[in-house]
Symmetry: C3
Subunit: 107 residues, 3 copies
């Protein structure tokens, strides 16, 4: 038995959770606040059999891929003079920890 | 030293937490959102000595037992015709992971 | 790779998080509710290389030190008679668990 702790961006959390659930994984979503990735993120915990860890990680990776996105930005180029232009930002990504579970009980 | 991660339903979380505390366990309650059990649930983390793990698990089990409950439900049996009847649902239950702690510090 | 789970008081959480971040650690802050320490507390999780665990723990300890604080208190010493006096309370402190990470992925 392993415990997977996955930190994904808030934007991807629901999709990752529902895909894992569809594939038979049991997921608990913890409320998380900032810090790891630029925007807000969510921590998912998932207990699973050793031989299903690869499958879970591949699902998490598939639905939380890092990708770039254009967002509007503004720069000043003189006193009171501004220009607006699009900036490319990276969103998504996942940080995954796999821990060994010594004992597992479902009561 | 072990770390117990217990996911219980929101309904049982306070009782489980107070019984563990009464028995000398230190509990931290994490805000959790859906997924594992049908209704909302709470994740409790509890660091404890190896020889007290059984005691903690038995307390968690005692105060988060799975039980059935009758809730009102409605079914339609024709166009615009409904009947209301009680349905048995299962509530409670706990999912428990025990992890080994390599190092523990109380500062 | 190790996973550090640190429970600190809400008052110290931001300072601990920003100092860890300044020192190159990646931190995720989980919303926590009561139980472990008297006032509200925050759970921080931090994945780090084995050889940096001591550094992380020393930073957490430095910025969540237990200290005493005077707070106003009131006692009654007769029917309708009250006196207000300062009481010394202990604030801060940290509880830290270090777990081994079997597998770590940054996707
Ligand atoms: Ni195992
Ligand atoms: Ni131990
Ligand atoms: Ni390691």
């Amino acid at each position: 038995m392993k415990l997977i702790i996955a930190i994904v961006s808030n934007d991807d959390a629901n999709k990752v959770q529902s895909e894992l659930t569809k594939n038979g994984f049991s997921i608990t979503k913890l409320a998380t606040t900032g810090g790891f990735l630029m925007s807000g993120n969510t921590t998912l915990i998932c207990g699973t059999q050793d031989e299903k860890v690869d499958k879970a990680i591949s699902i998490i990776g598939e639905f939380s891929k890092k990708r770039t996105q254009m967002v509007p930005s503004t720069a000043s180029y003189g006193v009171g003079m501004y220009t607006s232009f699009p900036v490319e930002v990276t969103v998504g990504g996942a940080t995954i920890f796999v821990l060994d579970v010594e004992r597992f009980e479902k009561l």
